[in-house]
């Protein structure tokens, strides 16, 4: 089997000079597939995402995309390589309007961004109404929609989402998951962290359970959902 | 805490001692004395910024108010001036205050939108002219009394040491008024407001001659310590000096400075201990919480406005005390010399370089920056000599550079400041 499209292999590292948070954590996603990371709070899920995106100095391990080693690229360069990331917190430009937020997502694109923006507005209709409003004035769920919208604007080949559904209403969450499946079908690689784990694992091709910075369980979404131990300890029964 | 702070303090002490050994103890003590006062000022600012995140750029105003206290407390009253218009003046001031109180009360009344605004405006404008009508003749009469020497009401004729706490109170009173009005502002907006208020304080000091002679300055403020001349003339002291192996002149100048140093150090010690106790207590924790996140602190039941006001008053009072001490040390009040660069921004440099949020840092910053402020002048000259030493004596550039040597002073200050902050961006003794 060829190497997965995106792989963060044996990642070990932490913030600044502090202790290691990740201990040989490995995450990989095939092209056009969805990988979901679950785990208790503080397990290092967000840290792992940041590591894959180059926002953390890794002491060990490597990140490769399409077989190319990108461990030493800066985040901007990874954006140029087609990666997009929605961080868990402070994931919008608060004083810019919704529309400008979306434009910033498409910063590196030179083609016409109107169609993509229309798609985002179709996905999150509320944003269309609020497009002239400063994103910082939005409700929590609306901000989250802006954040995901911004990443979609990149038209990435790899999409990384850190808890995209936190705080969004059920109806939007369903839409969002549907959309994520759609995006993946279009050949985009998706790596996401979720606490709404059951819904997320239902659509996941691969699931990772991270505990204390290391892989605890790995399997297909169904396998993990079926594992009673995993269900009880991490998915809330 | 690590060894860093104590080591830095030892290094600072060594710097001063070295200054004493190389350049003379008089100079070292002069620097030490102002260093002590600077440390107090920087503690005051640290209280506001480091503890509570209040961006007060009006330090100069509070320092000046402290200075005013020294005049109002320690100078003898001028009876002629009091007779000429003292009571009338007090009456006018009371009238002015009454107008302001009435205006504030009118403002607080919740009813009557536009009508209230009109009433308020009428009250303020009418009140202003009434106030001026009452004040101006009194002022004229007072200022006419021997203007080149007095022309003001004078002080209370009390010992100058009394003016230190009074300076604190005066500054605290001003801070209360300012805080009531302006503490709703955040960050740089509060900064410019306090800066403006400081400018207003200085404008009043410069132009209200009846109060403290304005730009004509008050000199000869009595001292809390003996005069060198008197010591030199005293038999006993001369004998003492001989015992120390010093001539009376040197001995007297040193002794006076040592006495000042003792007084200042005592004040600094008290303020430092109180600040340190406060910082380490639940009160300090509450303050830090407010600094970190006002919204959350208020939701956790902390009265943010009241606490801001409290710490603003405290910090300002400390600056006021330092101001009174400084005026005492200078022996004169010269309103024209209060410049933001020196009395506000330099103090801020002390706090930040020392390490904001840390009392020891603030104190260290006070000493170090003051030492530099004084020593960059010879350092700058020396650097300039070094640069030009290779050049021919009649070299045009050499002449040009030598002429500009005085400006090496600020440049050296800038470079050292940048270097210090480069190697410890969070200050020499960071908060944590």
């Amino acid at each position: 089997m060829a190497e997965p499209h995106l792989i963060g292999e044996g990642m070990t590292g932490g913030y600044g000079r502090g202790a290691d948070i990740l201990h040989g954590c490995t995450l990989s996603v095939e092209k056009g597939k969805i990988a979901v990371i679950v785990g208790p709070n503080g397990a290092g899920k967000s840290t792992a995402m940041k590591a894959v995106f180059g926002m953390l100095n890794l002491r060990q391990g490597a990140v490769r995309i399409g077989g190319e080693d990108i461990t030493h690229l800066s985040p901007q360069d990874r954006v140029a390589k087609g990666m997009a990331f929605v961080p868990q917190t402070s994931n919008i430009f608060p004083s810019m309007t919704v529309e400008e937020n979306l434009e910033m997502g498409a910063f590196l694109r030179r083609d016409d961004i109107r169609p993509t923006m229309e798609q985002v507005y179709d996905l999150f209709p509320i944003l269309r109404d609020k497009r002239r409003q400063a994103a910082g004035e939005l409700s929590g769920g609306q901000r989250q929609q802006v954040a995901v919208g911004r990443a979609l604007m990149t038209q990435p080949s790899v999409l990384m989402l850190d808890e995209p559904t936190a705080g969004v209403s059920p109806i939007v969450m369903d839409e969002l998951f549907d959309r994520i499946i759609e995006v993946a079908r279009a050949g985009i690689t998706i790596l996401m962290v979720e606490q709404n784990a059951r819904q997320a694992l239902e659509i996941a091709d691969t699931g990772y359970v991270l505990v204390q910075g290391a892989n605890a369980y790995t399997g297909t979404g169904e396998e993990l959902l079926a594992d009673p131990e995993v269900r009880r300890t991490f998915l809330g029964g | 805490m690590s060894l860093r702070a104590p080591l830095l303090f030892v290094a600072m002490a060594l710097l001063i001692v070295a200054t004493g050994l190389v350049q003379g103890w008089n100079l070292a003590l002069t620097i030490l004395n102002m260093g002590l006062i600077s440390a107090i000022m920087s503690l005051g600012v640290n209280l506001q910024w480091g503890f509570a995140g209040l961006f007060n750029v009006g330090v100069m105003g509070f320092v000046a108010l402290g200075g005013l206290a020294a005049v109002l407390v320690a100078l003898p009253p001028v009876p002629d001036a009091w007779n000429a218009g003292g009571l009338r003046l007090l009456g006018a001031l009371a009238l002015g205050a009454a107008v302001l109180v009435a205006a504030v009360m009118a403002w607080k009344r919740k009813v009557g939108g536009r009508a209230r605004a009109l009433v308020l405006l009428a009250l303020l404008i009418g009140g202003f002219f009434l106030f001026r009508a009452a004040l101006d003749p009194a002022v004229q009469a007072i200022e006419a009394v021997n203007p080149s020497l007095t022309g003001y009401l004078g002080g209370l004729g009390l010992p100058v040491l009394v003016s230190w706490p009074v300076g604190g109170l005066l500054a605290a009173g001003a801070a209360w008024i300012i805080g009531k009005a302006a503490l709703g502002l955040r960050s740089d907006y509060l900064a410019i407001a306090t800066l403006g208020i400081a400018e207003i304080v200085i404008a009043v000091l410069k132009n209200e001659d009846w109060l403290s002679r304005g730009v004509k300055n008050v000199i000869g403020i009595p001292r809390p310590v003996p005069y060198e001349i008197d010591l030199q003339r005293s038999e006993g002291f001369a004998a003492q000096a001989a015992g120390w192996g010093l001539d009376p002149v040197t001995a007297s100048t040193l002794w006076v400075k040592v006495l000042y140093a003792g007084l200042f150090a005592a004040v600094l010690a008290v303020i430092l201990v109180l600040a340190q106790l406060a910082l380490a207590s639940p009160w300090g924790r509450m303050m830090r919480a407010i600094r970190d996140n006002e919204v959350a602190a208020s939701a956790m039941g902390k009265n943010v406005t009241a606490r801001h006001l409290q710490v603003f008053i405290l910090g300002s009072a400390v600056c006021g005390i330092a101001g009174a001490m400084m005026t005492t040390l200078d022996g004169q009040l010269t309103p024209g010399s209060y410049q933001p660069l020196r009395f506000t921004f330099l103090v801020w440099v002390m706090v930040i370089v020392g390490g904001s949020g840390n009392n020891y840092g603030a104190v260290l910053g006070g000493f170090l920056i003051w030492w530099l402020w004084v020593m960059v002048e010879p350092l700058g000259l020396w650097a300039m000599e070094l640069i030009t030493s290779g050049m021919a004596a009649d070299n045009w550039l050499r002449g040009h550079l030598t002429d500009a040597a005085a400006h090496m002073r600020l440049m050296t200050m800038g470079i050292i400041l940048l270097l210090v902050l480069r190697f410890s961006p969070r200050g020499l003794v960071p908060e944590r």
Partner: protein, 261 residues
């Protein structure tokens, strides 16, 4: 009991809360749900004194509390958490909790200077209490970590932890569950029920996780576009067509139908 009468809150021309009236019965765990941007957080902010209302009235046990500042409401026993975590980032996690209780002896300067003995005893008790709470939230290993360094979910736990430091009357929880691990959320749910039963706390809970709402809350109030759309038991609400259309969506309905089947 908290009553909200015809409350309005406008931002410019936008009516975020647009004439909402509702009651939170003493001793209940009331759920507050609604689409994103329905005005739930804004309503909380107005009740808790963070935002002044444009018009309308809020009372607590018959007393008018409209527009009181947050710190006074806190003293009246009204606590709230924030949807977007508001930790004290440069303080340790333990300090974040220890600062919460009101009227601590050491919070006056006089005592800070001259009442060291009294403070010490109180501090010890506070620290113990804080450690208990941290233990419960499974983050006791982080007690001495700077709160700014916590993970997203841990910050939400800390938000919740603060409400556990004091004896409150009414607690407003704004999406404490978002970003919190579901297993832990269940434990938290149990704790809420326990506080409600044993200590008589009143809760008002905003949450988008319908399992959580369904398990805990009765009644559930649904807001949409700044108004109250529906009110009733969780089961009723989940069957309400309007609510399904505006909020729950068919996806979940189908799923639930499948699950019940």
């Amino acid at each position: 009991m908290i009553t909200v009468e015809n409350l309005h809150r406008h931002f410019g021309g936008f009516h975020a809360v647009d004439g909402a009236s509702l009651k939170i019965e003493t001793g209940s765990i009331t759920g507050l749900i609604g689409p994103n941007g329905a005005g739930k957080t804004t309503l909380f902010n107005v009740i808790a004194g963070r935002l002044p209302p444009t018009s309308g009235r809020v009372t607590m046990d018959g007393e008018d509390i409209t527009g009181l500042p947050p710190h006074e409401l806190f003293h009246k026993g009204l606590l709230r958490t924030f949807q977007i975590a508001h930790e004290f980032s440069s303080m340790t996690v333990r300090e974040n909790l220890m600062m919460v209780p009101a009227s601590q002896t050491g919070e006056t300067l006089w005592n800070a200077w001259f009442g060291r003995g009294k403070i010490r005893a109180q501090e010890r008790a506070l620290a113990e209490k804080a450690d208990e709470v941290l233990d419960f939230l499974t983050i006791s290993h982080l007690a001495d970590e700077r709160a700014g360094n916590l993970s997203g979910g841990q910050k939400k736990l800390l938000e919740l932890g603060r409400t556990m430091m004091v004896d409150a009357k009414v607690v407003f929880l704004d999406e404490v569950g978002a970003g919190v691990n579901r297993t832990l959320l269940n434990t938290i749910g149990d704790a809420i029920v326990r506080l409600n039963k044993e200590r008589g706390y009143t809760f008002c809970v905003i949450e988008h996780d319908m399992d959580f709402i369904g398990r805990l809350c009765d009644p559930v109030i649904v807001m949409a576009e700044g108004k109250v759309l529906a009110e009733g038991s969780a089961a009723d609400i989940m069957k309400n067509e309007q609510v399904i259309e505006a909020y729950l969506g068919t996806g979940l309905k189908n799923k639930q139908a499948a699950e019940t089947a």
